[in-house]
């Protein structure tokens, strides 16, 4: 872990990082307009400055019915005679629902009252395309789309001062969700490789090139800003990662929450993290039982490990995580012992500040729309809940395109 007693010019390192360390350094070396230093907006100050939101995308369309299994409903077993999970193989949450057995990490969080499960989350006129539906979730604009992501727009609203590293996306490619009008998201995958490879004698030349102020076109200026952001973030990220040590078991597949934990431990000013279980992993069309069970072993263990690590860091009260997928699967199993693209599915929100339990009405397994679940909770209600109740941002209309009731999930 970072040594929080380190001092630089009389200013605590923690304070430097929270204020946007890269901006501070460039402020001292002249002419860096991307991120004003130390400036924090009134909005950011009133929106609970220690609170962090971590968003996990489960790409591919998770089969919600085999995740939070409605074992108390005969219709479930009638629809899924071969892949339905029998009651004896479930981690029962109550007399109607249960997790599949591999989700012990989630079960612990639920039992501890640190997990909210929102049933039947979706949107009207659902798309069955991974690309379209994910874009709707990314932009909070179903059936119309938007140029910026909802997380990117949220960053703009929370932090008008555009601090460096306020918004982080752990991935090989930037997600549409974090695309922002004002912020440059910090996007990286492997911290060890998040570095510019140069020879020793080249470094001073690159520094010299980046210090110039005569960038030409608007596009050129934008690229100069991006480059400066890269140069200043890379060393911070690598330092945070190399110093981070944790005894917590993050499970067999680490899709990025360990890196989030490292950045939180290093006191990055990041308030919004976005990452994904990638490569359409949850797209379980064929022989899904084993692979879906494994996916949830990895996912539940990784998320539960992260939550345990936050508690170990003393940040359990500051961090909330949401896990979602772009759609659920059809109710009926297919002839390949898998499931095809569907509509609504559960959303999971984990963290100590969460009032654990079920939210929203479970969708009917018999009153279907062409074989698909009819959503009972608009996903923008979940977003509104996180924005208003957790992050303290009252104005959700501009981002969500309308007013949505919150779920009263936080105390």
């Amino acid at each position: 872990m970072a040594n929080q007693n380190d001092r630089s010019s009389g200013i605590a390192r923690r304070d430097l990082l929270r204020a946007g360390f890269g901006a501070v350094m460039m402020g001292g070396s002249g002419g860096f307009g991307l991120a004003p230093m130390f400036a924090s907006s009134a909005a950011a100050q009133t929106s609970n400055p220690n609170r962090i939101l971590v968003i996990v995308e489960l790409s591919g369309g998770n089969d919600g019915l085999n995740t939070v299994v409605p074992y108390g409903d005969d219709a479930y077993y009638k629809a899924r005679p071969r892949i339905g999970i029998k009651p004896g193989n479930l981690l029962k949450l109550d007399n109607h629902f249960g997790f599949q057995q591999t989700m012990s990490g989630f079960e612990r969080l639920y039992r501890d009252g640190q997990m909210a499960i929102v049933h039947g989350v979706g949107y009207p006129q659902p798309s069955f395309s991974h690309f379209s539906s994910m874009a709707y979730w990314h932009t909070a604009a179903p059936n119309r789309g938007a140029p910026y992501g909802w997380v990117g727009a949220l960053a703009d609203q929370m932090d008008p001062a555009n601090r460096n590293n306020f918004l982080v996306n752990i991935d090989t490619n930037q997600s549409l969700a974090v695309r922002s009008r004002q912020h440059v998201p910090l996007v990286f995958d492997d911290p060890a490789k998040f570095a510019r490879a140069t020879y020793a004698d080249q470094a001073p030349v690159i520094d010299s090139v980046l210090k110039r102020n005569e960038a030409g076109s608007a596009a050129s200026k934008f690229m100069v800003d991006i480059t400066r952001s890269a140069v200043h973030s890379e060393s911070l990220v690598r330092e945070a990662w190399s110093k981070y040590k944790t005894p917590v078991d993050y499970g067999l597949v680490r899709f990025g929450l360990d890196r989030v934990a490292a950045m939180i431990a290093a006191d990055f000013p990041t308030r919004l993290f976005y990452l994904a279980y990638r490569h359409n992993a949850f797209d379980t069309h064929v022989y899904q039982s084993d692979v879906h069970a494994r996916l949830w072993t990895y996912t539940a263990d990784h998320i539960a490990g992260f939550m345990a690590d936050m508690a170990r860091q003393g940040r359990a009260q500051d961090v909330v995580l949401m896990a979602f997928s772009e759609f659920g699967r059809r109710v009926l199993e297919n002839t390949s012992q898998g499931t095809d693209h569907g509509t609504a599915g559960p959303v999971f929100i984990a963290g100590k500040p969460v009032r654990g339990g079920f939210y929203g009405a479970p969708p009917s397994l018999t009153n279907l729309d062409d074989g698909n679940l009819v959503h009972t909770t608009d996903f923008r209600r979940v977003y509104a809940t996180l924005m208003r109740e957790w992050l303290g941002m009252p104005d959700t209309r501009g981002i969500l395109g309308g007013d949505f009731d919150t779920l009263r999930m936080f105390g």
């Binding site: 996007v187 490879a197 080249q202 010299s208 030409g216 050129s220 690229m223 952001s229 890269a230």
Partner: protein
């Protein structure tokens, strides 16, 4: 474009200009530590059971139990089978071609009429960038090249100017403007 993507592109440029041939190990010929370990032990004369026992099982508690399990499974030993499989596979594998990009930057700039370091930089800037860079950036590149080759004229440095020119090309490809166009 993100900071991470920018760094990746910069690093790709370096890998093309300065491929790390020394550290390259053809994965088709690299069986990994486990196979190497078993191979070493078999060649040293150990029997299959002893050669394929897991390292962790050869010390501490459970040593005898683990050894017995391995010995009893000797006739169906996947580690030994893997070794033999690799030996057979490697006979048939065609090597992955691994050669550096064949280009001659010195000839390229000279063909475009450059006789000085400054002119060489101008040729490379024109070739790689769609937008001109400011005078300060250009001067930094010229100074760097002169420093690397030791003279302002290219001709006296013709025998060794290729590597410095590649470094200049890499610097240009690391500049923000390279991403435009």
């Amino acid at each position: 474009m993100t900071p991470g993507a920018l760094l990746s592109r910069n690093n790709l440029a370096r890998d093309i200009l300065f491929p790390n041939i020394i550290d390259f190990v053809d994965p088709s010929f690299d069986p990994g530590e486990q196979i190497r370990d078993v191979n070493t032990k078999i060649r040293a004369g150990l029997d299959i059971g002893a050669a394929t026992i897991e390292q962790a099982a050869t010390s501490g508690e459970g040593q005898m139990t683990a050894a017995n399990i391995v010995a009893s499974a000797e006739d169906f030993n996947t580690r030994y089978a893997s070794l033999v499989g690799w030996q057979e596979a490697v006979r048939r594998v065609k090597p992955t071609a691994r050669s550096a990009a064949q280009f001659d930057l010195l000839r390229l700039v000279q063909d475009d009429g450059a006789t000085t370091a400054a002119q060489a930089v101008d040729v490379l800037l024109l070739r790689f960038l769609h937008e001109p860079v400011d005078s300060k950036a250009r001067k930094a590149l010229v100074d760097y090249l002169v420093d690397q080759i030791g003279v302002e004229q290219l001709a006296p440095a013709a025998t060794y100017a290729e590597q410095p020119l590649r470094r200049v090309a890499h610097l240009i490809m690391s500049m923000p403007e390279y991403q435009l166009g």
